[in-house]
């Protein structure tokens, strides 16, 4: 039996030495990271820090999905993008930042929305999915793709001076729909374009998404599965609350008579019927709340 250290090249040993020194982490955890593929949906305020820290930690591959281009109004919080890459697709810009940090990480930029057509295939090709999107329609679809493909979901959100984070569909915990069976009604959803957002808010949540992902891949520590982080950055208040068990009548993950989501087409129909649209951040018309 070859020790794990032997599997690492000298350049990797030096690069990852600081994290391999951690008690309970070590070379075996590093080897799992070096063998992992992470899907990041959204290359914005959450996706940028999540991707950069996962690149630093040494995952094998990052698949980036986003259809948008880098805009001036992104730069205050989307630190994977720079002024010189304004107008470029975000996935290309963030891919360049990732390669700058760690050329050993493979990056697959997917310049597209996450849809009923590509969703399950993308989720199937990874070990962990990171939801770094900005609207409820895509969040339901990402959840359903994770349930259908059997992948853990690290879901973060940020608005104003508030952040939220949890891990779904992992370790017998609930899925996103177990917690939010009913979508928010039209006109009640505030986007960052409406309500604003302070840069460090998605910054912290995105870095925490990288951390939860590392914990899932390496099996080190206790993830937020079954728990929800609720953070008020204005008051520096952090709460981790217990959420309910998986819902026995969940339409996505219950695998019983209540299941109605069998494909992402079902997911798309659900969103359409509930009036949820996969909005562009700069096109939203909803009222500020």
């Amino acid at each position: 039996k070859i020790p794990y250290e032997a599997a690492l090249e000298p350049s990797q040993l030096k690069r990852y030495s600081r994290q391999m020194l951690i008690h309970n982490f070590g070379p075996s955890a590093q080897s799992k990271l070096l063998d992992s593929t992470i899907l990041i949906i959204g290359a914005g305020g959450l996706g940028c820090p999540a991707a950069l820290y996962l690149a630093g930690a040494g995952v094998k591959k990052i698949i980036l999905v986003d259809h948008d281009v880098v805009d001036t109004s992104n730069l205050h919080r989307q630190i994977g993008h720079v002024e010189a890459r304004q107008g470029l697709p975000k996935v290309m810009s963030l891919a360049e930042a990732i390669q700058g940090v760690n050329h050993q990480v493979q990056v697959e930029p997917v310049l597209a929305k996450f849809t009923a057509e590509n969703g399950v295939e993308l989720a199937s090709r990874c070990d962990v999915v990171i939801d770094a999107t900005d609207n409820p329609a895509t969040r339901y679809m990402v959840n359903d793709a994770c349930v259908l493909a059997g992948k853990p979901l690290v879901s973060g959100a940020a608005l104003g001076m508030n952040g939220q984070l949890s891990v779904y569909n992992y370790n017998s915990g609930p899925c996103y729909r177990c917690l939010y069976p009913q979508p928010p009604p039209q006109g009640s959803v505030t986007s960052c374009a409406d309500g604003g957002v302070l840069g460090p808010i998605p910054g912290v949540i995105g870095v925490l998404q990288a951390l939860e992902t590392i914990k899932i891949v390496t099996q080190v520590g206790k993830t937020l599965s079954g728990r929800l982080l609720i953070w008020d950055g204005e008051d520096s208040r952090f709460r981790v609350v217990n959420v309910a068990e998986p819902r026995s009548e969940c339409c996505a993950c219950s695998r019983g008579e209540h299941q109605t989501i069998f494909s992402l087409q079902d997911s798309e129909e659900f969103c359409a019927c509930k009036g949820l649209v996969s909005m562009e951040t700069h096109q939203t018309q909803s009222k500020p709340l």
Partner: protein
């Protein structure tokens, strides 16, 4: 009469004159039906709507409960665990209403 601590956050405080905390609030018991004398969450939500909410009730209540997209915590746990609308509120319960975020 129960005395509870209420909290509104995640942006929901904007409906309450931007006030996040209401400490030691006296909520009178409900007067109708079989549940006279106690305060259920259903009653409390209604009372909050009528007495504390400053604007746009449709962004707080919907179909006799809280609007989808609002998390309710009773003593820092999901109110699903306690029984949602039927939970009988006790003195000094900490009840939080938090807007679910979708931005990124």
């Amino acid at each position: 009469m129960v005395r509870v601590n209420l909290e509104f956050s995640g942006g929901l405080e904007l409906l309450f004159d931007n006030r996040k905390e209401f400490k030691d609030v006296e909520v009178p018991p409900q007067k109708e039906g079989q549940e006279e004398g106690i305060v259920t969450m259903k009653h409390l939500i209604n009372w909050v709507k009528d007495n504390l909410l400053a604007e746009r009730p449709e962004l707080f209540v919907m179909n006799g409960s809280i609007r989808p997209g609002i998390l309710c915590l009773i003593n820092d746990s999901d109110w699903e665990i306690a029984g949602t609308l039927d939970y009988e509120v006790e003195d000094q319960d900490n009840i939080s209403f938090i807007s679910t975020l979708h931005g990124g």
